[in-house]
Subunit: 192 residues, 2 copies
DNA sequence: CGTTTTTCTTAACCCACATCAAGTTTTGTA
DNA sequence: TACAAAACTTGATGTGGGTTAAGAAAAACG
């Protein structure tokens, strides 16, 4: 149950057996069926979740259209950071794209852990720092790569996304319509 | 000299007089003339800087074109996070848009501070978390707002940017060409 | 303070993605 | 396995931003 978590945590910071156990004790397993919602816009994000199995996404809803912000596979932490950190209502939705198994930790428990065991501040810092790096890469790509370039980069840099996620969700992630992604794929298939 | 830093730090975490002094002792003042470079792509970002006065930006260079990633005014911390955290060469440039005064801290000193005074892990965490929130907002806007909407949001949400920064730099930040921003401004001026 | 350089605007034309619509393929499930 | 729903593709047409080019306005600077 906690194997993947242990591996994933160990990549951020080495923990003693006791430290890991005290962390794991705060986590509650939760299953999420495909399409089931983890967080709705307007709610406050009171928990973040470690993805033990499956795949989730967060997305924005604007004028009836969904815009995929990010996909999360095994080993990732998912939630609405903005809401989780600020305590303000979320502006995004989080749901499952596959049947998923999560390990969920309440915001309050994590905050208490930070205070009581400062060692875990480092975990919080490293986690946030990694998210910064990912988010800035994504911003940069949206800023100056064409949709076609973004799609090609996705294929090479995040093959799991292309393998496991429906094309219309990928289009949404790339910031284009499904019809446009179809045409880009056609263009690429008709050589070059 | 350290007034603004103290105010800015206090918003993140309360520090004792001694703690603040031990932090301030790691900082070196540095002046940067307008257009002067703080960091070049390819270099490793060995320092981050607190902006005491002035304005800096980071930008990407692709096929001879500049793309502004972010602007930094008084009270902000600037550097290439990706490079600073990973130790890898930077992919972006940082320079001054106005004559500026910085307070610079070496990466190694900050890392040591984290280890020796775990209290400051919290500073690092809160700083990173705030950057995550900003970066995700920017990503979202690029993902689903039109250039015109992005410009309007910039006016209301970050008036300082519109007041102090040249239009062609704003266009670049919005992900469009200066000619397009001109047209958008004209469109908006011709009422509605 | 006048000259040079940079920044900003305008215009004409082009093109990639959006939109609307229809049809095909795949998936889910009773 | 058959049917319905969802996902994907293709086509016709529209549009906002890109490109190129030129000129106007503002800023930098000797």
């Amino acid at each position: 149950m906690f194997d993947r978590l242990q591996t994933s945590l160990a990549q951020l910071l080495p923990l003693s057996r006791e430290e890991f156990i005290s962390f794991a004790a705060l986590l509650t397993p939760r299953r999420l069926a495909k399409h089931e919602t983890f967080l709705r816009a307007g709610e406050i994000c009171t928990h973040i979740a470690f993805v033990n199995k499956g795949c989730l996404r967060y997305y924005y809803l604007k004028e009836g259209n969904e815009y995929n912000g990010q996909f999360f596979f095994e080993g990732a932490w998912v939630g609405d950071y903005q809401s989780f950190l600020s305590g303000q209502p979320s502006v995004q939705y989080v749901d499952a794209l596959e049947d998923s198994e999560l390990l969920v930790i309440p915001r309050t428990d994590l905050q208490r852990l930070y205070t009581e065991q400062p060692r875990f501040e480092r975990f919080g810092r490293l986690l946030a720092e990694n998210i910064v790096i990912g988010s800035q890469r994504r911003t940069a790509s949206l800023l100056f790569d064409s949709p076609e370039e973004r799609y090609l980069k996705l294929i090479t840099e995040r093959p799991k996304v292309v393998e496991r996620i429906a094309l219309h969700h990928i289009a949404s992630y790339l910031g284009i319509k499904p019809e446009s992604l179809s045409r880009i794929r056609k263009r690429l298939a008709d050589n070059r």
